[in-house]
């Protein structure tokens, strides 16, 4: 009976939206999940309607439809080599020269071609690829090195394309210094200050030691990623993959092979449904000194004499500022303590304050403190929930790992089922991780909903409440209700029911969250028509017109009546 109710609502939601989302395929996590399991049996999830389509998606999921390509170090090298080869053969120049050109044009092959064929001479001049030797010497047997001023036979001197001769030892020193100065060595020029001839990798390979050659190649590789407008490094610590974005600037969510999900545009972790700008503001807010300022404002008063902020944490109203100020004053009216005494209503009260407060004299400062306090409390409310979902998500990631590495195998033995039949468990956990992420960001979304968008705000809070309770249900089921089966001695029939319930919950929650993300991304604008079906189903037990708080209660009531 439980699962009946859940299933019916799951189908409602699928009818409304699920087909679309699969076709668009923009949710990278889907693809990620799919590709992880593409060798598994598919016939487990009876509830997923588009089983066949999913199957197809799974096979194709590896990137062709994706907005991005994850590049390992070898892939990066290969692409770089390909580009260098292509430019070198089209322009009939050396590989070293084409590397210099590509670097100058941020590794954009077509830009190189365009510029070159538009005005080869100008391009050569700017990047330092001289068409031929500029320095012609009469042919003495010996020449002087321009750096150490020693005379050398020609065979012991070397020059870049320009012909300015320097001895081997000075070249070595020049190149070593430049490489150890950093990536600027990629733009190295002839040591002669009047000469702009480029010094390319061919010269580096002759004169640099192994270590430096290696460094130079690393810089070159880094440049290929960092100077290229379409590639970025994965920001996960220790990850050395890069992500090449080929999408249409709509969905920037990418998932690195190291399993870190991030937004390619702002390189913060994936943050749908909120946009990059909100994330930036929120992160700034979280680290902002302004929050400390708010706290100080709300909880302290400045010493009337030296203006240092003072927090009153206990004791009477007789304050003594810390040395060297030592000013004694009354906390209530901020007047000098020496003016206080019996005539102001006794030493430990302040009639002046009471009287003045009634006349409204102290209102301004009081109001300011009050406001700061309110805004701080408001922020804290959202921050705490944001952070606790973040924690929850991390915990869920650990649990997911535990599930995949230990528990699935254990259960497979206890319940006498092949592990492929237990995929619904890791699906559930994967969904929990994803939901926690979405839920987390809805709190940043909520924080930036302005006061005057009241109707929107109420509706948002209602949706958020629903999402939260739905997720709680799923989390509860995946965590607690699984335990008896993990500790059982042998297979039980209830496990089949559990399977049905958990898979059902996963599907419902998945589509609910997908709808939520889309609704919030549209800024709740087309919520009326697009979402009507599914949201009406889940809210039929109560009117959604109440305040956010009531909305939550309604949804909980709905939830419990189903269980």
């Amino acid at each position: 009976m439980d699962s009946d109710a859940i299933l019916s609502s799951s189908e409602d939601m699928h009818d409304a939206n699920d087909v679309e989302s699969d076709e668009e395929g923009f949710y990278s996590d889907e693809n990620e999940v799919a590709s992880d399991y593409n060798t598994d049996d598919d016939d487990v999830d009876d509830y997923v309607i588009e089983e066949d389509e999913d199957g197809i998606n799974m096979i194709q999921a590896r990137r062709p439809e994706n907005n991005y390509i994850v590049l390992k170090e070898l892939d990066i090298k290969e692409r770089q080599e390909d580009d260098i080869t292509s430019v070198s053969s089209v322009l009939s120049i050396s590989r070293a020269a084409s590397t210099i050109l590509l670097r100058y044009y941020n590794w954009n092959v077509s830009e190189v071609h365009e510029a070159w064929f538009a005005d080869e001479e100008k391009v050569r001049k700017t990047v330092g690829l001289l068409p031929g030797t500029v320095v012609q010497f009469a042919k003495p047997r010996e020449l002087m090195c321009g750096i150490c001023f020693e005379a050398f036979p020609r065979s012991r001197l070397k020059s870049a394309d320009c012909g300015h001769p320097f001895c081997f030892e000075c070249w070595e020193g020049y190149i070593r210094t430049s490489i150890n100065d950093g990536p600027g060595c990629l733009m190295l020029r002839c040591p002669d200050p009047s000469c702009g001839a480029a010094v390319g990798q061919d010269m580096i390979n002759i004169f640099a030691c192994d270590d430096d050659r290696c460094k130079y190649s690393k810089y070159l590789l880094r440049s290929f990623v960092e100077d290229n407008k379409k590639t970025k490094w994965c920001p996960a610590p220790g990850c050395e993959h890069a992500v090449n974005y080929v999408g249409d600037n709509e969905n920037y969510d990418v998932s690195c092979l190291c399993s870190y999900d991030f937004c390619w545009n702002c390189t913060e972790e994936t943050h749908r449904p909120v946009d990059c700008n909100t994330v930036r503001l929120w992160i700034l807010k979280n680290s902002a000194e302004s929050e400390n300022m708010n706290w100080i404002l709300a909880n302290s008063k400045p010493c009337p004499k030296c203006k240092r902020p003072i927090e009153k944490n206990q004791g009477c109203m007789h304050m003594t500022c810390s040395p060297a100020c030592k000013f004694e004053f009354c906390w209530l009216c901020l007047g000098a303590w020496s003016d206080h005494g019996e005539r102001t209503g006794g030493f430990y009260a302040c009639n002046r304050y009471e009287a003045a407060k009634q006349e409204g004299v102290y209102d301004e400062a009081e109001r300011r403190r009050e406001m700061a306090k309110n805004s701080l409390e408001r922020y804290t409310h959202y921050y705490e929930r944001w952070a606790s979902n973040q924690l929850s998500r991390q915990k869920a990631l650990v649990d997911l790992h535990q599930m995949q590495t230990v528990n699935m195998e254990k259960l497979s033995e206890i319940q006498c089922q092949p592990e492929s039949q237990l995929k619904f468990l890791s699906d559930a956990w994967q969904q929990i991780v994803e939901c926690r992420r979405v839920l987390k960001w809805t709190y940043a979304y909520g924080y930036y909903l302005t006061e005057h968008e009241n109707a929107k705000k109420q509706f948002f809070e209602y949706l958020q409440g629903e999402a939260e309770s739905g997720l709680e249900r799923l989390h509860q089921c995946a965590e607690k209700e699984l335990l008896p089966f993990l500790n059982a001695d042998g297979p039980s029939r209830e496990f089949i029911e559990f399977h049905t319930k958990l898979a059902g919950l996963t599907a419902v929650t998945k589509s609910y969250f997908e709808n939520l993300v889309r609704a919030l991304e549209n800024h709740l604008s087309d919520v009326g028509c697009h979402q009507a079906g599914s949201l009406a189903t889940s809210s039929k037990n109560g009117t959604s017109k109440g305040k956010g708080g009531r909305g939550k209660e309604t949804s909980r009531a709905g939830g419990s009546s189903r269980n």
Partner: protein, 153 residues
Amino acid sequence: MANSNLPRRIIKETQRLLSEPAPGISASPSEDNMRYFNVMILGPTQSPYEGGVFKLELFLPEEYPMAAPKVRFLTKIYHPNIDKLGRICLDILKDKWSPALQIRTVLLSIQALLSAPNPDDPLSENIAKHWKSNEAEAVETAKEWTRLYASGV
């Protein structure tokens, strides 16, 4: 001891600085450290520094000529590209250094900098502001300082 393995290049440069000095510039190595030079630059004619004798110190670091020499004014000078400590804002002393440059070229560049102050790339914010808002007055101050601090001794 540091002098015993002085690179040939430094010896050659020193000899040439002493035997054919550039006009208005003198540089001689210190007796106990051949990498440390006492430098004098005459204020260029038709500049606010005309008539002044400016003392500088120049040091050739271990990496020279792969790294630039370190130079600073010892005489107080009112100039937008030179700060209170005498440090000089000059590209060839920083990222534009090339081992094919020499002590002589560096000192000539500094002399040229005295002739052509560049308040758009200032080291001393206040002086540069002064220079841009009222050049005539700034030049007067520079002349005054030249008279006060650089009138040779």
